[in-house]
Symmetry: C2
Subunit: 236 residues, 2 copies
DNA sequence: CGTGTAATTGACGCCTATCAACTGGGGTGG
DNA sequence: CCACCCCAGTTGATAGGCGTCAATTACACG
């Protein structure tokens, strides 16, 4: 027979979650008038917005903060498929049947729009196209980059997300708090957490970044980091 | 210093292309009246529709056949990010600035719509959402599946694309011609061509598929294949 | 029938996963 | 306020899966 040892090892990182105090808030569509532009709610980090395969009628708009979208295989393997920052939409408008789970990474302000909320088609199309572009970029990372390139790419991407796109070109040192655990990073970059840790250390030894207190990241040489990341020229 | 040996090995499979007689047809927007529903053209397999980073004003609609979208890293590493079948749209409407190259896989009939073509917003949104769903599914494959699972998933996906979605549930043997070389499959599944070949052989030895003349595929046990593929239940 | 390219298969090596021990930082309770 | 605990993170040793290199076979096309 055909022995296929599916590595359900990363299941541990998916099931037993990083933060035990995850609040699963019953976020539901606001009962307000139609055509409202939604109510804004404040959520702590690690709040579950909705689960994979859950029926979701609302569309969510990130006012500030960050949200990750992830998929699970039945044996528990997890892939974080996207990470979103301010301005981005997700939820009902982005996919009729939810195929992902959504969770805040940092304390966030999220605007919740009911099923009858009116977005301009141009806005929706634009958001959908942005999502496709990010997913295609990530496919290249997952399919064709080495572990070191992935980790470097991840740091560049998070710097842009958390410190603004000026991070890409400005040459002052950029710093931000890592809102992802090593296990999250691994599930985003298609690695295991030890490999993420090792390669972060390597980037640090090379003088490209520095990490303090495990989650304070400072990018010391953005140009060098992008080069290691095999970063595509046209981005953002 | 930081030694990063980027595996530009798959460059060979990207640069020196599989079929040397690729015709780069100057497909341009039809000069016909606005609001036309486009002209249909017939193309042989391996016709390049547009290149990565090329300015493309037209939107393409697959009447019949199949098209692959791919991205290249500067060192030549290639990732096939999506494979499309009849009914699908790609080109201008799908992304304002092209970030992918598009090439037919099989002899195809493609409808070319000029920049001012009118698609219903619902149609466009639906196409964009489908693309996102496929890309998310592929991210799970690239980030979290083993080589055997990837190859099995690829065969299931191609069966659906080339033999219709009835392939998924019907229990008669499904057969189709593989329109991808082993090198293409590798660039799609995030592997090298030898690994693809080995795992196809393994699926064959397990009695799940059979391959004749290198490109005649027959799926003998779809249920078993889906199981090996770690195929998600809700699909198509 | 001969040639060129794709595909298969084998041998080997390396990168990343796995397993395990240890370290560090934050929170809590005495 | 400090000591302890718990869990995230780091680092090392080892293993294994997939990539690499190379030789052979199969197939398509003249």
């Amino acid at each position: 027979m055909l022995e296929n040892s599916s590595p359900a090892s990363s299941a541990g990182s998916a099931a037993g979650h990083a933060y035990s105090h995850v609040l699963t808030l019953p976020v539901r569509a606001p009962r307000s008038s139609p055509h409202s532009d939604g109510i804004a709610i404040r959520l702590p980090g690690r709040s579950r917005l909705f689960d994979q395969s859950e029926e979701v009628g609302s569309t969510f708009e990130i006012v500030q903060g960050a949200v990750m979208l992830s998929r699970l295989l039945r044996d528990g393997r997890r892939q974080i498929v996207d990470i979103l920052g301010p301005g981005r939409l997700f939820g009902a408008v982005m996919s009729p049947v939810q195929e992902v789970a959504a969770e805040t990474l940092t304390a966030s302000e999220i605007r919740v729009h009911g099923p009858d909320a009116e977005f301009s088609e141009a806005r929706i199309n634009n958001e959908l196209r942005l999502a496709i572009d990010r997913l295609q970029t990530h496919a290249v990372l997952l399919g064709r980059k080495t572990a070191l390139e992935r980790v470097a790419s991840g740091m560049v991407g998070l710097a842009v997300l958390l410190a603004g796109s000026r991070a890409l070109n400005g040459n002052g040192p950029i710093s931000f708090r890592l809102p992802l655990t090593r296990s999250d990073l691994a599930d985003w970059l298609g690695l295991v957490l030890e490999t993420v840790s090792r390669n972060l250390s390597q980037l640090q030894k090379a003088g490209l970044i520095s990490i303090e207190k495990q989650d304070r990241v400072q990018i010391l040489d953005m140009a060098g980091l992008k080069q290691v990341a095999a970063y595509e020229t046209k981005w953002i």
